[in-house]
């Protein structure tokens, strides 16, 4: 490659900083910047910079989608199915259409269209209204007459698997699904409500088990978790003759723009998607979604802007959820711990949707020559699942990491030592070392050893997540003649602080302060940004930001070089100045250089190039980096065996994300991942009434989320793991930080009480059942 003149060879820092850094040669495109030094040598990258939109957020000035008001804006509201499975014989909207204040009426389900005449879960959209006030829309909604023919239904996943169960789908009605984080495989057989299997294998599992000295086998279950974004799903759609503008609480402005263009037959140039403040998504705001389509259709019909914001009950019933799973894991090992075989069967339910697997963590985390898995989707008459923070691998780790803990016990090998033997990752080895030291692993006692009713325990579990990259990611950097700097991209800040990260990356290039960089993001008028899902935002958009800034800087150097009578190659930018590297006094302020520009602004747009060491896999606009993201978490719990209450006292989370750019924001995200995992392990549960199919806790009161007093002390350690893969070498953190928490807590609970809890959530009922204090059905 170097021979054709498009790349050059560069030496990059390589390895884990706390272990010791080496170097690696990489081929770098000639129009990309030189290697970035390790964080210790940098001015702003790697520093805990306060977030750039913090002031707006603490003063209430940030404009979230629910805060957007346009002149003449109408209020949209969706009529939802009260029945879990019904054929719609007729919909009469005439009275609703006549109601004062109503401007548009839209049937969503249709009695005359076989593909749209059946509703399959409570909360499924049936029709929609746009009116001048919310009250008028709600009143009109009650005037819509729907003639339903109730069909047999099933909401329990075990019952749905029975051959006599009522059928949720026919082969034609199975929707595409993304609950696993990726498009569900197509063409799998459908038997009753069970679709699959999706299979993967290597080696010879039967032979592997024959070689095993010890085999552990267990069944693990996880509940359905809902996303509970604090800002509801919301959109303001403004359809005009010259184009469509949509304000939407979305994780992917560019993706929604594509969906809108395709759905409504518009050129991309006539569709604009905007998001400023974005109140949490966690996977559920990745796509346009039905409510988004409804809002745009209503706006087109009414010729006025239409706002739809889901209420909390709609959020809980129909904005996606993390599918429930059941898995049976068998793991065989030799006496020295080396794994000989892993067999995994999974059945999950994403309600009427697809993608309820347990991921690839059992397949990929440990060295094991023989592996097989068969995973099935089970349809139930419940709201469709969608991707949620670490889809697949989060429930997958719940099973795998408990099974490995059990294996360690059976082998009489310390769980950390066992992982040292079977986990090939040098990164996680270092993470285990640091974490074990911080939690005081050497003081861990035998299971159930505490004498009193309150028993403490320590547990460990590991995380695995692909380092995703969106190739289709671009960023523009502008320098103005007054020396001010602007960064522009469609990328959205969903709370992770990507704007601040971009400011740091660009400031580092220019030798400026992060607060000198104006950040304009969340708007498809700017170069298309990556989605904020799959933990890929930082990996995708920071390299093009640095590259664009570097290219602009070269242009600025040319002006400065003329004035300084120096060669551009001898110049450097630091501490607000541009100067001759070996003769710092020969230079000028950044602003003075900018003032010499021939035009008011100069600009460069860069897009994400391939990882310098190549990708493991390309999938359309996305790619998977060679190295995985890891993370090891240790938990300390106290179990009150008389009340059944599990209290998580402490979590040590040791994570990696390539080059950490903003340790303060990373710490925030890791704490968030830990708390979401803790909440999943102990509290959250979407509860459906089996007789009616209705969710009985569609709120934030009886759907229980960990609150401030459930937060343990969380010790966050982030490795610097340099791989020389891009202009920033930075990757994501959000999902890997969520995956290991629940099984780490479960393993700590086992260590505390000597009994294993294999289902989430670990309620007092479950603890008592495990301890034999109540019958196991009573939870």
């Amino acid at each position: 490659m170097a021979a054709d003149g498009t790349t050059r060879t560069e030496k990059f820092p390589f390895g884990i900083a706390s272990v010791g850094l080496g170097e690696v040669d990489r081929q770098v495109p000639i129009d990309e910047p030189p290697p970035l030094a390790p964080n210790a040598e940098l001015a702003v990258i790697g520093k805990p910079i306060p977030r750039q939109n913090g002031r707006a957020k603490v003063t209430g000035a940030t404009r979230f989608t629910v805060d957007v008001t346009l002149p003449g804006m109408l209020y949209g509201k969706i009529l939802r199915s009260p029945l879990p499975h019904a054929e719609i014989r007729a919909i009469d909207v005439s009275a609703a259409a006549r109601h004062p204040g109503v401007c548009a009426v839209l049937p969503v389900a249709r009695s005359d269209d076989p593909s749209a005449s059946v509703v399959r879960y409570i909360g499924a959209p049936v029709a929609a209204i746009a009116a001048v006030t919310m009250a008028a829309a709600e009143e009109a909604l009650r005037l819509i007459r729907v003639d339903y023919n109730l069909l047999p239904f099933v909401v329990d996943v075990d019952k749905a698997r029975e051959s006599t169960a009522p059928l949720v789908h026919d082969s034609g009605s199975v929707p595409p699904g993304h609950a696993s984080g990726f498009p569900a495989p197509t063409g799998l057989p459908l038997n009753g409500n069970v679709r699959g299997p999706a299979v993967a294998s290597r080696g010879d599992v039967a032979q592997g088990f024959a070689q095993a000295g010890v085999v552990v086998e267990g069944e693990y279950r996880t509940q359905v978790q809902t996303h509970c974004c604090m800002e509801p799903h919301a959109i303001v759609a403004d359809w005009r003759p010259d184009g469509l503008t949509v304000y939407m609480s979305t994780q992917f402005t560019a993706g929604v723009r594509h969906e809108l263009a395709a759905e409504f037959g518009l050129p991309l140039s006539r569709v604009r998607v905007v998001v400023d403040g974005m109140g949490g998504g966690f996977g559920s705001k990745s796509m346009l979604s039905k409510y988004g389509r409804v809002a745009v259709a209503l706006s087109r019909q009414a010729q006025a802007p239409v706002r739809i914001a889901l209420d909390r009950e709609e959020e809980q019933m129909d904005s996606g959820n993390r599918p429930g799973t059941w898995q049976r894991l068998r793991i065989g090992a030799r006496r020295d711990g080396s794994l000989t075989a892993i067999s995994l069967v999974g059945y999950g339910t994403a309600g009427v949707g697809l993608g309820a697997g347990v991921g690839n963590i059992a397949q990929a985390l440990y060295a094991c020559p023989n592996f097989e898995t068969a995973q099935f989707d089970v349809f139930t008459n419940a709201g469709p699942g969608c991707a949620m923070r670490g889809p697949g691998n989060t429930p997958g780790a719940w099973g795998l990491e408990q099974a490995i803990d059990e294996l360690a016990l059976r082998l009489s090998i310390d769980p950390v030592v066992l992982r040292d033997r079977i986990d090939p990752s040098p990164v996680r080895r270092e993470e285990r070392r640091i974490g074990a030291d911080r939690i005081g692993w050497q003081h861990r006692h035998a299971p159930g050893a505490d004498p009193g009713p309150i028993k403490r325990g320590l547990g460990v579990a590991q995380s695995l997540w692909g380092a995703n990259v969106q190739i289709n990611s671009a960023c523009e950097v502008r320098v103005m003649r007054d020396g001010s700097v602007e960064v522009l991209s469609g990328v959205q800040d969903i709370g992770t602080g990507i704007g601040t990260v971009l400011a740091q990356v660009v400031a580092e290039v220019f030798g400026l302060r992060p607060e000198d960089i104006a950040i304009r993001i969340g708007d498809t008028d700017f170069p298309a940004g990556p989605p904020s899902y799959g933990s890929r935002t930082t990996a995708s958009i920071t390299p093009p930001a640095r590259t664009a800034a570097w290219r602009v800087l070269q242009e600025l150097y040319r002006e400065a070089a003329l004035a300084l009578n120096a060669a551009t190659g001898d110049l450097t930018a630091s501490a607000g100045r541009i100067f001759v590297r070996d003769e710092p006094s020969r230079g000028m302020n950044f602003g003075e250089a900018a003032a010499r520009l021939r035009t008011d602004q100069i600009s460069a747009v860069a897009s994400r190039s391939d990882d310098y060491g190549g990708f493991r896999r390309r999938m359309g606009d996305a790619a998977l980096a060679e190295q995985d993201l890891g993370g090891v978490q240790f938990a300390q719990v106290a179990v009150d065996t008389e009340t059944g209450i599990i209290r998580v006292e402490r979590v040590v989370a040791v994570q990696d994300c390539g080059r950490p750019i903003n340790p303060l924001q990373i710490e925030s995200q890791v704490q968030g991942g830990v708390l979401m995992g803790l909440s999943y392990a102990l509290y959250e549960n979407r509860i459906l009434d089996q007789h009616t199919g209705r969710m009985v806790n569609p709120n934030l009161e009886q759907y229980k989320l960990a609150g401030p007093r459930e937060a343990p002390a969380i010790d966050v350690v982030v490795l610097e793991n340099y791989q020389g893969q891009s202009a920033t070498d930075a990757y994501g953190i959000a999902e890997p930080s969520n995956i290991a928490t629940a099984p780490a807590i479960a393993n700590a609970v086992y260590n505390a009480i000597g009994v294993r809890l294999r289902s989430t959530p670990m309620t007092p009922a479950a603890v008592f059942a495990a301890l034999g204090k109540v019958p196991s059905g009573s939870q």
Binding site: P82, E642, T643, Q690, Q702, P764
Partner: protein, 342 residues
């Protein structure tokens, strides 16, 4: 939320006259009326009322506020001991009230543990005692349950993990007030004033209505009657008390179980009288008489404590998903007795 008119009473008489129905009656009368409500309900702090209004479980014609009635939030020590708490006293004021903290610490603890700081700033003791249960079937219009005039309890064969383990037929709600658990244990009374100004006083324990007596209400409040005060009996130095609650979470959550223990001890340390009440156990605060009997007349030692915990469960009829409450209550009773003695 449906439309309603607003009135602010300045006197008890105004409020009582205007209160043409109780919340319980109104929820039976018009389960799905849209704007049909013509009757008036009374609002104290309004936390529960707004919840019911927002869920369209209640569609009154008029909401009558008690906030402007002077003196209804007064807390006053009675001559000869005891405390009179105006029904409009907020939970926040009561939780921090020096007299409560000193003489009725179990009550202060129970109130401090209720709801959230924001809600305690607004919610009143009267409203807390009169709030409707949190049963998720009661709280959704889609379930026309017994308590709303329907013919069926959905919880008994449904999702009953948070429901009653005692007296749970024909309806398995649990009473939502933790303050009530302590108040019943203390032998507190309520004062009810009607439009004519006549006052009736009865023990709080007698004010509550069991599910098998009348499944459509939890208390004996009548239309055109205002709960004006809660009266606490005096506490001699020989009285020892404790309240413990256990939620799944320590942050804002409803208790899975709560226990109030009031012990009257002789000078020699033996127990003259024990009052043990379980909350979140039954449709009304549940007096664990068998446990009380275990302690009465005894010096309370370790085995008596254990026996009391066990006896507290006598007669329990747990449902499919709430048997876990049995060991939980057993532990809480033991711990509450020990805490009261400490």
């Amino acid at each position: 939320m449906n439309s309603f008119a607003w009135a602010s009473a300045r006197t008890i008489a105004e409020a009582a006259t205007a209160a043409t129905t109780t919340v319980s009656d109104a929820m039976v009368a018009s389960p799905d009326a849209i704007d049909g409500g013509t009757k008036s309900v009374v609002k104290a702090g309004g936390i529960d009322l707004l919840d019911l209004l927002k869920e369209n479980l209640l569609t009154p014609g008029t909401v009558v506020s008690l906030k402007e009635v002077p003196g209804l939030d007064a807390v006053a020590e009675e001559q000869g001991g005891g405390l009179r708490i105006g029904s409009m006293a907020t939970l926040a004021n009561l939780a921090g009230h020096p007299v409560l903290r000193r003489f009725y610490p179990a009550l202060a603890d129970a109130i401090q543990g209720s709801a959230s700081p924001q809600l305690r700033n607004v919610a009143t003791l009267g409203g807390n005692l009169l709030q409707r249960p949190r049963c998720w079937y009661l709280r959704a219009t889609e379930f026309h349950c017994l308590r709303k005039g329907g013919g069926h309890c959905f919880a008994i064969s449904g999702e009953n993990q948070y429901h009653a383990i005692f007296n749970n037929r024909p309806c398995a709600i649990v009473h939502p007030s933790t303050a009530a658990t302590v108040l019943v244990a203390l032998g507190a009374s309520v004062e009810l004033t009607n439009a004519e100004g006549s006052v009736r006083r009865l023990l709080l324990e007698d004010f509550f209505v069991a599910a098998d007596t009348d499944v459509q209400r939890e208390n004996d409040l009548s239309a055109q009657e205002i709960l004006t005060a809660v009266l606490l009996p005096p506490v001699p130095a020989s009285l020892h008390m404790a309240h413990l609650r256990q939620g799944e979470k320590e942050s804002f959550d409803w208790p899975l179980a709560d226990v109030a223990v009031v012990l009257e001890l002789d000078r020699d340390g033996s127990c003259k009288r024990a009052s043990i009440v379980l909350g979140a156990a039954a449709p009304v605060p549940y007096r664990a008489t068998a446990a009380e009997a275990v302690l009465a007349g005894k010096r309370i030692d370790e085995s008596a404590v254990r026996e009391a915990g066990h006896a507290a469960l006598a007669g329990a009829t747990p449902l499919d998903k709430n048997a876990y409450k049995l060991p939980l209550f057993e532990a809480l009773v033991r711990r509450a007795v020990l805490k009261a003695l400490a």
